[in-house]
């Protein structure tokens, strides 16, 4: 896609890959997917006239949890849909991947788009929906175009449309592109966006399963969640569960970024030790020491490196380490990073991306950024750390959507684990780590 892109490494997803097994970087087309056994799950379900409840029961058995960040059990979510309600019902795929550190859905869509289409077809079948939309992040235009191509292939082959493969199952699927708004990854903001409005989250209840897109029952799942569905339906929920751990079924694609030798996506079984993932990613860049890891995208609390080295990668183990698995975006920082500067950058992001609807978030994210910025620039005051804690406290739980919490959690965790660095900045007006080592940049990036 770009001349500067290194050659595709087919081994990058790792030996445990299930979703990305057999991916070469080129074999994304329908015939390739079918050759890998693609669409067999949909064919089986339609041929056997499998009961929608049985599909959902299989998903529940698999312990598949939402891969977008919240980790909600997928089977349970699908069971909320009022299948018998008359009229239009929707299945929406959330490919608005913009959580800093996350870049797995982009790879799924560009290397394995039909897997997502098949997963959505099964979802539409199981929930009694009538149509689907895939909302694709605005900044990845070539992936949107590829998905449109894949849709055309699937329509021509009869996987999408009226009476799929001669059955009485009919559905439609369309792609919708975003145009630069982090907040649209929040599911109700995403629905507003498809409706042609500003992406501002809705109050819940009512939940999308009763009042979603165009006011119709709607289920929203992440790209990777849909991608896991065909394998589960072919191999059984129990087999998927056994790939991982109880309550943490299956494999997960982790996006590893930051100070590692080989940033990239690695698909491993849930419960894999973080140390092993780090090894797959080539270890620490330049052999430096690990300082901190954000294990689940920028909204997840930061974890000290030594704690992370002892932590396994599943929802419950990471929660025990004081953070969350989130989207599986693992941001690795080495000993040269100034944690004040790192937090300054994250705080700027939430300030920039707050949709402005709720006062605590709109005003609070600006406060937090400005306070961290002045600490970083050597103008910090003694009372600033208490002030940061206070602002974060006053955002948490007081907003319509999770962006407010997402902005507050990094602030709280950075100050909690690296308080000495913040205090040093305030006391000495410069950095504890050292100006030369501050690899996040020589200048505030704003």
């Amino acid at each position: 896609m770009n001349s500067a892109h290194p050659p595709f490494d087919p081994g990058i997803y790792g030996p445990e890959a299930v979703l990305m097994k057999g991916i070469t970087g080129e074999n994304w087309r329908l015939k390739d997917y079918e050759a890998r056994g693609g669409y067999a799950a949909l064919k089986k379900i339609l041929a056997e006239k499998m009961a929608p409840d049985a599909v959902i029961a299989e998903l529940k058995r698999s312990a598949l949890r939402g891969r977008g960040g919240a980790g909600f059990p997928t089977g349970l979510k699908w069971s909320f849909m009022p299948r018998q309600a008359p009229g239009a019902k929707y299945m929406v795929c959330n490919s608005d991947e913009g959580e800093p550190g996350t870049f797995k859905d982009r790879d799924i869509l560009r290397y394995n788009p039909h897997q997502v289409i098949e997963g959505m077809a099964i979802g539409v079948y199981a929930t009694g929906s009538t149509a689907g939309y895939n909302y694709i992040h605005g900044e990845i235009w070539d992936i949107y175009e590829r998905f449109e191509e894949a849709l055309a292939e699937a329509r021509a082959a009869g996987y999408i449309g009226r009476n799929v493969l001669g059955s009485d199952f009919s559905w439609e699927l369309y792609a919708h592109h975003g145009w630069g708004a982090y907040i649209c990854g929040e599911e109700t903001a995403l629905l507003e966006s498809i409706e042609g409005k500003k992406g501002q989250p809705r109050f819940r209840p009512p939940f999308p399963a009763s009042y979603g897109l165009y006011g119709r029952p709607t289920t929203i799942n992440n790209t990777e969640t849909f991608a896991a569905v065909p394998w589960i339906m072919l191999n059984g929920g129990q087999a998927y569960l056994e790939l991982g751990r109880p309550n943490n079924g299956g494999t997960k694609i982790f996006s590893v970024s930051g100070h590692v030798e080989r940033p990239g996506n690695y698909e491993v079984r849930l419960g894999t030790p973080f140390a092993k993932l780090l090894e797959m990613a080539g270890g620490m860049r330049g052999g430096r020491r690990i300082k901190a890891v954000i294990p689940g995208g920028s909204s997840a609390p930061v974890v000290p490196g030594q704690v992370m080295m002892q932590t396994d990668l599943d929802y419950d183990a990471i929660a025990k380490a004081g953070s969350m698995l989130g989207s599986g975006a693992v941001i690795v920082m080495d000993e040269t990073v100034c944690m004040v500067r790192a937090l300054e950058r994250l705080s700027y992001f939430y300030f920039e991306e707050s949709c402005g609807q709720c006062t605590p978030c709109r005003e609070g994210t600006g406060w937090m950024y400005r306070v961290v910025h002045r600490i970083e620039s050597g103008r910090g005051r003694q009372e600033d750390l208490d002030l940061l804690a206070n602002v974060a406290e006053n955002i948490m739980g007081r907003t319509i959507c999770a962006l407010g919490d997402a902005a507050a959690l990094p602030v709280r965790s950075f100050v909690k684990h690296f308080r000495d660095e913040f205090q040093y900045h305030i006391d000495h007006k410069h950095c504890l780590v050292g100006a030369h080592a501050a690899v996040v940049g020589n200048k505030a990036a704003v």
């Binding site: 959580e99 900044e139 235009w141 975003g178 630069g180 042609g196 500003k198 996006s255 996506n265 690899v439």
Partner: protein
């Protein structure tokens, strides 16, 4: 106001949604209009509003909410650099500084010859390719070391 080709593409987008939900195509329509006209003037936004049967203010709300719409003219090549934390850990700040020096402009400025505009971006969802530069909204340039930036600029100068 918009070419027949753009209108045809907008009609394709409108067809993706229920017949009474034409407004859903506004994001795609504005992106197409911006591509044809370079930026979204009030006249262009009002035209899109009329075409989709929307109130002009509803179209402006969308155009001003999503960051990839340009409501003011930009250079022929809009370069957007992600400087978020994962990218910054892998050289994005250096890439941005290099671009500023080479082009002689700061964030949100355009070179005097009107060729380049420089913008700061927020997470393109491509952190593994850091540093990344988004060219004219649609082309992702990956692994943008200073050498790769020089090469890209030379190609765009042609």
């Amino acid at each position: 106001m918009l070419s027949g080709e753009s209108l045809k593409k907008i009609d394709t987008e409108v067809a993706k949604y229920p017949a009474d939900q034409k407004q859903s195509a506004v994001m795609a329509a504005l992106a197409l209009a911006q591509e044809e006209k370079g930026h979204l003037s009030t006249e262009v936004m009002d035209f899109v509003a009329g075409y989709l049967g929307m109130a002009p203010v509803a179209v402006f709300e969308v155009a001003s909410f999503y960051t990839m719409y340009d409501l003011a003219p930009v250079g022929r090549h809009k370069l957007c650099v992600c400087t978020n934390l994962p990218c910054a850990l892998s050289g994005a700040v250096e890439a941005a500084e290099h671009l500023k020096k080479k082009l002689g402009i700061d964030w949100n400025e355009t070179t005097p010859d009107g060729r380049f505009t420089l913008k700061q971006g927020e997470c393109f969802g491509a952190c593994g390719d850091a540093p990344v530069v988004l060219v004219n909204n649609k082309k992702m340039a990956s692994f943008m070391t200073p050498e790769a930036i020089d090469k890209m600029l030379a190609e765009l100068q042609k």
